[in-house]
């Protein structure tokens, strides 16, 4: 089994438990569903008058979603202060940018990302989220293998 887990199990399991605890605690304390892609739509409501961004569900949640996002950055900083080791990716900028555009568009069209469908949706026993997870995992796996076989870095 270790061949499938070259970095061991511990950091993945502890990290996953922390992520699950964070989303659980958010729900038990405030009743909020802690997905992570809606903030990219709700924040536009500060800058755009377009009808979609002005919907109540975005305007009424835009503050806490930004606070939540700020918390994520602080959480990364806490990790940095413990590990004292920065990490800078070597993936090319065009891949980071293009991937981002497609993810932003797709997640908002689908109303969920890896956190939304993958954690909140599955934990809510939503069939649509299960299908979404299967589709985005399969697509991402296919794309990664394709890029690998074409030698794209």
């Amino acid at each position: 089994m270790t061949e499938f887990f070259p970095q061991g199990y511990a950091s993945y399991v502890i990290g996953g438990l922390l992520i699950g605890s964070a989303i659980s605690l958010l729900y038990l304390l405030t009743g909020l569903i802690g997905g992570m892609s809606t903030v990219f739509t709700s924040t536009w409501s500060y800058f755009s008058q377009a009808p979609y961004f002005s919907e109540v569900r975005f305007r009424s949640s835009r503050v806490w979603r930004l606070v939540y996002a700020l918390g994520l950055i602080l959480g990364g900083l806490v990790y940095l202060s413990m590990s004292r080791e920065t990490f800078v990716t070597e993936i090319s900028p065009w891949r980071l940018l293009l991937g981002g555009v497609l993810m932003g568009f797709g997640a908002r069209l689908s109303n969920g990302c890896t956190a939304g469908h993958g954690i909140c949706g599955l934990a809510s026993l939503r069939v649509s989220s299960l299908l979404a997870v299967i589709i985005f995992l399969a697509t991402a796996i296919a794309v990664a293998h394709l890029m690998q076989s074409l030698g794209i870095h």
């Binding site: 989303i23 605690l25 939540y68 990716t89 293009l98 993810m103 949706g121 934990a123 979404a132």
Partner: protein, 137 residues
């Protein structure tokens, strides 16, 4: 929203970001290794996170009639339709190309992974295109 709720949101965000960093999800290289079946750690991350959240979502409302700080529990809204499925496919395409999903792209800034700013700018642009031109009227 009450100040105490916003504080709770912040603390949960910090836990979330710490978990994502610890689980190496802020490193696109690790996620791409998962997608290429070289390191299946991401399955452990997703599995444990879903398990904990499943308990909270399913049992929480049975034990606590309402959330500690607010008056009611929210619901995850997801429709079984073409938008959800097509969007998931486009999301997967983007995820496979860049190797980070939205949460880790945000948390990664905290660990100093500054090139993720490209991804954040991309996600914001993609969300704008969706909301401005493709959203249902």
């Amino acid at each position: 929203m009450k100040k105490s709720s916003l504080l709770a949101v912040l603390v949960c965000g910090v836990l979330f970001g710490l978990g994502l960093s610890l689980a190496s999800m802020v490193k696109p290289e690790v996620v791409i290794d998962f997608l290429l079946f070289r390191d299946l750690g991401l399955l452990l991350v997703l599995g444990t996170a879903v398990l904990v959240t499943l308990l909270a979502y399913q049992l929480g409302p049975k034990i606590l009639k309402k959330p500690v700080l607010e008056s009611r529990y929210g619901n995850y809204v997801s429709a079984l339709d073409i938008r959800t499925l097509l969007g998931a496919g486009i999301f997967g395409l983007g995820w496979g190309i860049c190797g980070v999903c939205p949460g880790p792209a945000i948390a990664g800034l905290g660990v100093g992974n500054w090139p993720l700013l490209y991804t954040l700018a991309g996600i914001a642009a993609g969300a704008y295109i969706q909301g401005k031109w493709v959203a249902p009227r």
